[in-house]
Every structure is written in structure tokens, then in C-alpha cells.
Symmetry: C2
Subunit: 401 residues, 2 copies
């Protein structure tokens, strides 16, 4: 099989992939999926005050030491403090305050008594049981302390982190900006969905495949164009895209035929070819170039090839560019429940369903041009080169989609 290994290809791609260090501000609800670009340090203790975890009475443990149902302790109720309220009056011996869950415990008190353990008194209250010092008592700073770094730069934010940011009072945070990706699909034979399919044409599924998968990875392409098999037009598009994009992905035109325009287009703009051809099926004719610092990944036009190279080559690129390790490929092992007949010499990636440690093959053809049999598949079996057919019962390894 011609070309470099998949691992070499990834290494070369990463070598030419810049990390995006520019930042932008994101509102709280825009943060999930983003990478934090600054340490987030607490500006105050949280909770900001000692607070009651119950509905009841705040008082001094000393005063209620001997309390029981038979011998209740009677305290004078000086005020009521609800959640959201705050009292500056210090509670003295023999006194209590009515207090609600989440309310600030006033000075002088060192415990709270559950209302079920009292007579619910308003002017005075009878306490039916003792409480230890700091019993039913939440300390200021119990959640986090002023100055503590709660979320570190580089953290991938999710719903919990967004809520923590909210709890810190932050309504906007600095995150790394997302990559600007441009997708260029090519081919005289493709027609966009929704238009009429004329003789000799097929519908363009690659553009949707690439765009939707990029969106799974958190990247919404800045624009997408479908170009005919014309090297000069493609060259123009590449030049235009390179002005604005962090990464350019093209499909089609990378093989050896007369219509394989990508080689010519890239020569025309003077892009540096880093590699062409990778030892993998599908996706063998993948071509990687750099133009004005922008990585250009050129995939073959076969839809299944696009799906496979997206995972194996573009996902690692985005992982580095976005500093998002959740994009890292996850490998799993399992036993073949079916036999994969095709026995080419080279390395092959095979669509499959991985369930409870077992690999099932989908019905339908495995050809590179066929996508329909990929429905329901959740992995790509990595059949290393030199192996024969994958027999039922043998062990295999796959990357999860």
C-alpha cells in the first residue's frame, strides 16, 4: 500500500497545526463546549456568610445544653431572618432568632435548632433538645473560599462549570475562539440536495457529512463552497479561504485521474505539499498541504472515505487547534460477532456496531462510496495491515465514533 502510515500522517498534520490562542468573551450559556482561557479565581467566600441549612431558630448552644421535651429551654425571639435577609444585631444569651433555610446566621449564635424540635413560638420559643456548637450550621466559604482558583485555564466547560461560574457571579468569561473552517467540496458530478438530479449526476452528501460532523466537534464552518472540476476555480477558492480560515478541508480530486484537480490547484497557489497518500482504506489518496500557515486537508470524494478520514486525521487536528481533549479518539477492544471477508493487504477501517464488548457488522455493502450501511454504527474497526479476513470470534480493536 502506497503512502505513509496513519500515525505518521497525524504527526505531520499536528506539526503544521497551530493552536488557537486568541480569546473572546462568552456569555454563560455560550460556555458549554468551550475552553476556558483564564484561571477563574473566587472573588468572595461562598456562601458569603454563615448560613442556616434548616428552618428553625438560631441561638447559642450553651443556652440549650440541657433542653428536653420535659424540661424545655425558653428563649426570647428577637427577630426573624429569612433567606436573602441579613441582620447586624448581635444575639445575646437567652435570645434566639427565627431563621429560614439559607438565611445568614446572626452574630452571637453558634447553632440552629430545627423547628420540629421547638414549639414554633413567635415571641418566645421553647427548645426541646440540645444542639452541639456549630450544629446545623453552614460556614461561610464552605463551597469555596475567596482567592481559590475554581476553574483552571484550559478547562473544557460544561453545564456544571457554567453553573459554578454563575455561582461566582461571572456572567461572561474569556474562552479561546473557535477555529474558522472552510469546506470546499468538488466534482462536476455533484448536485446539491433539493435540486433536480440530472443524468450522470449524484447528490452531494459530503458537504453535509463534513459540516454536520464538524458541528458535532463544536465547529460551525464559516462557509462552504462546492466547486466543479476546474483547477483554477479551486485555486481561487483556496486563496480566498486561506485569508480567513484556520483550516481548509476539501473533498475530491486527489487521485490520479485527469479530473483530479487538487494537485494542480495547490501547485497553482504555491502550497507546500506535506504528504500525499496514507496507508489506509478508505482514504488512501488523502493529501495534506500548508498554504500561508493554513493547513489544507484534501480528502478523497468517497463518502465513507470522508467519514473515516474525518475521524482519523481531522479530529486530531481540531483537538490540537482547539485544545479540546474530549475530541481525542477513544479505542476499544472486542470480539468479532461476524466475519469481515475482504482481505486486502493494507490497513482497513471497517464500520461496525460495538456493544457489550462485541463487534457486529451492519447489513449492506462496505464499499467506500456507500454510506447507507453506516446507520447505527458507532465505531470503526482498525484492521491493521498484514492481517487476513477478520473471522468470527477473533479479537479486534476499534475507534469509537
Amino acid at each position: 500500500m502506497e503512502g505513509i502510515t496513519v500515525e505518521q500522517a497525524v504527526e505531520l498534520i499536528l506539526e503544521h497545526t497551530p493552536v488557537i490562542c486568541e480569546t473572546e468573551e462568552a456569555g454563560l450559556l455560550e460556555t458549554p463546549g468551550r475552553i476556558l482561557a483564564e484561571d477563574m479565581k473566587a472573588a468572595f467566600d461562598n456562601p458569603p456568610f454563615d448560613r442556616s441549612p434548616i428552618d428553625g431558630y438560631a441561638c447559642r448552644a450553651e443556652d440549650v445544653a440541657g433542653a428536653s421535651k420535659e424540661n424545655p429551654v425558653r428563649l426570647k425571639v428577637t427577630e426573624e431572618i429569612d433567606a436573602g435577609q441579613y441582620s447586624v444585631r448581635k444575639v445575646k444569651p437567652g435570645e434566639a432568632v427565627r431563621i429560614m433555610t439559607g438565611a445568614a446566621i446572626p452574630q452571637g449564635c453558634d447553632c440552629c435548632i430545627r423547628q420540629e424540635d421547638t414549639d414554633y413560638g413567635e415571641e418566645t420559643v421553647e427548645i426541646y433538645r440540645p444542639e452541639k456548637k456549630r450544629g446545623n450550621y453552614c460556614f461561610a466559604g464552605e463551597d469555596f473560599k475567596k482567592g481559590t482558583v475554581l476553574l483552571e485555564k484550559g478547562t473544557r466547560l460544561g453545564y456544571v462549570e457554567a453553573a459554578i461560574l454563575a455561582g461566582m457571579g461571572a456572567d461572561r468569561v474569556k474562552v479561546y475562539r473557535k477555529p474558522r473552517a472552510v469546506l470546499l467540496t468538488s466534482g462536476d458530478e455533484v448536485v446539491e440536495p433539493g435540486r433536480e438530479l440530472t443524468q450522470g449526476k449524484i447528490y452531494n452528501s459530503n458537504l453535509t457529512l463534513l459540516t454536520a460532523r464538524m458541528m458535532d466537534f463544536g465547529v460551525c464552518p464559516v462557509y462552504t463552497v462546492t466547486v466543479g472540476d476546474d483547477a483554477a476555480v479551486m485555486a481561487d477558492q483556496l486563496q480566498k479561504a486561506a485569508k480567513d480560515a484556520d483550516v481548509i478541508i476539501t473533498t475530491g480530486g486527489v487521485s490520479v485521474g485527469k479530473k483530479d484537480i487538487m494537485h494542480e490547484s495547490l501547485r497553482m497557489i504555491g502550497a507546500e505539499r506535506i504528504f500525499w497518500r496514507v496507508q489506509m482504506k478508505p482514504g488512501m489518496p488523502t493529501l495534506f498541504s500548508v498554504y500561508q500557515g493554513v493547513p489544507i486537508v484534501s480528502l478523497s470524494g468517497n463518502p465513507f472515505g470522508v467519514a473515516v478520514t474525518m475521524e482519523l486525521l481531522i479530529r486530531p487536528l481540531l483537538q490540537k487547534m482547539m485544545q479540546d481533549d474530549t475530541l481525542g479518539l477513544v479505542r476499544v477492544k472486542g470480539i468479532m460477532a461476524d466475519t469481515f471477508e475482504k482481505s486486502a493487504r493494507g490497513r482497513r477501517f471497517i464500520r461496525a456496531i460495538w456493544e457489550n464488548g462485541v463487534f457486529h457488522l451492519p447489513d449492506g455493502l462496505h464499499s467506500n462510496g456507500i454510506l447507507s450501511s453506516m446507520v447505527g454504527c458507532n465505531c470503526l474497526i482498525d484492521r491493521k495491515s498484514g492481517l487476513g479476513p477478520l473471522q468470527t470470534g477473533c479479537e479486534a480493536e476499534a475507534i469509537l465514533l
Copy 2:
């Protein structure tokens, strides 16, 4: 522990949860994450024509039966067919056409010869090896046949399905509409992030927690309101929300204190109480009602309680309402790497990190009011009631976040 079991609570919630059957049209790139509301049947064979998988020459296998490098067969090249082109001229014995990958194989031909196995001739071509009938030949309908249901009603669409729809020529499809959710958080003590934090107040993290998690589940709340501890105002909001919403979620005010307004608000509007209190920690005082057919889930105000009930009670509700089984809870088993000390009688859900079959507990407090220690956690250990502390080395079960 008071209340019904989590399982009973889920059952009651589902009993009162309608499935959304109304549909809407979605453009291709809006389909990922949506549920298909119609069978998608192929309107044509794909590929729509027999096509060449290679760059080379299409001809008749019979004509090249004896071909070799030493004794090449010479054929007359009658035309060139590129991808996207189509010829109606039938190829006769002794003839060949130059053909490119993806181009329609013309009538009369039954195989294609790779250009590497020819002299690349233009007027005539020398063929250096034989090819079997249907060799290098892709049949029309190989991907899918006209009339085949490629995607069934009820399928959850992803990037592959979107690409298959594109390949079918569909630019819009019918999907079920998303739930309209209204979130109402309550509490005199909460201040929205970005505002000044005054004495006795805390920032509202629940609204962000709920909204961001709903968005993970594919639901963008139609609106959210934060209400003070005023039963009449909350009642108004509930009535207003019920006009428009499929589901209402509230936080706070469900306990037994004077400020626990939800009971009163729901009474005021005449909502039917289905249950109050669930045997779980956190989230015990969860209250579930139905008003004008709209399920209202009222959660306690503790952020960790909100996070837990969101998974255990609201996620199943959304799963049913949206017919989206990817929202189903996934349970995993593992061994405790740390000891969880607290030993209450009741069932408890404990934030943890599950990795390689082992549960690790995060640093920091596990209190219900504390969210910061949830960073990095990917599961909730389900410590069933009646068990003591979870010791290092013992087996535990968890639901994945």
C-alpha cells in the same frame, strides 16, 4: 426516609408526560439530534447509473479476454466520459470509452480497465490485461434501491443520517418538534450573575445549571424567570407558563418552611399534586404536579439537588416526551477507590469520577448546597438505602452524567 421511591417517582412522572407528536420541517444541518417523524424512502436508485470506480477505459470483457503486456488488445476510443457526464451512445465490439471515476458506464460495456493497465491511448488504446465481466464495475442501486426505506420514522438523526438524507436529495425532512420548557427559579436570596452581591444574598447558579443541562439534552428553554418568595407571583408565572409550555421546571420553595411557597402557588392555581418527597438525597423534597395537562417538576433549591434530580427525574421525562432514547440513563458498575463516610439510612446519590471500572471521589465537600466539587465528575454513585458507608474496595453502581 419520607416519600416514594425514585422508581415510583419516575413511573408517576412518565404517566403524566405526553409524547410530542407534532412535527415540523428541519433543514439538513438542523437535523442532527432530532427525531425523524416520517419514513424516508429512496426516490431513485443510488448510484442512479452503473458507474466506474476507477480512472481508465470502459469496454467489453469479451474483447480483452486474451490481453497481456506482450499481446495487448487494441480498441478504438470513441469518446471520453467524465464524472457528471452521461453518454447515450452504445459501445460496440472493438470499441472502448475513456472513463473517469464516478462517471456513468455507457451501454454495451461490462467492465472497466484501470488506466495503469493501458497505454493511456487517446484515439486507440492498448489494453494490457483481461478483466472479468463486471470487473471494476459499480452497479446502479448498489448504495440503495428506489423504494427502500433508508431511515425509519423514530430514528434519531446524526451526522451520518444527515449525509444519507443529502444523498437521497432531501434538503428538508419532517421531525418532531422540540419540547417547550419554561424554567422558574425562586428565592429572595438569589442575585443574577453579573449584578452586585449584597448582604445575605447568593448568586443564582440553578438557572444556569438547569438551562445548560437542558441544552445538552437538545432543549433550549423558551424562557426562564427568577421569582422572589411570593406565592401569588409564582402562581401567576405558572399560569402564564402553562399556556405555552410542554413542561415547567421550578427550583426552590418545596420544603416545609414559611418561605416554601411552591405548595401554596400550586394550590392557588388548582394544580393536581401527584407526589411530594422522594426517597433520595439530595432532592428529597421534590414535588410533582400537573396543571392543564402540563407536568410541573418542582425541585429543591440546592444546586447539587438540582443537578441530581435533573438526571434522575427530568431526563426520563424528556426521553419520553422527545422519543429520544439517547437520553436514557446509563448505569455502570465499579469498585470504590475511596471511602464515602456519610452513612445515612436513606438512598443517596454521590458525585464521583468513574474511570477504568473504578470510582474516585472528588476532593471537597459533598453537601447538597455545594457544586464546586462536581467539576470533573462524570457519574452519580447510587448508594441504595440501608447500606452503611461505602468502603474502599467495595462494589458500587452509578449512573453516568
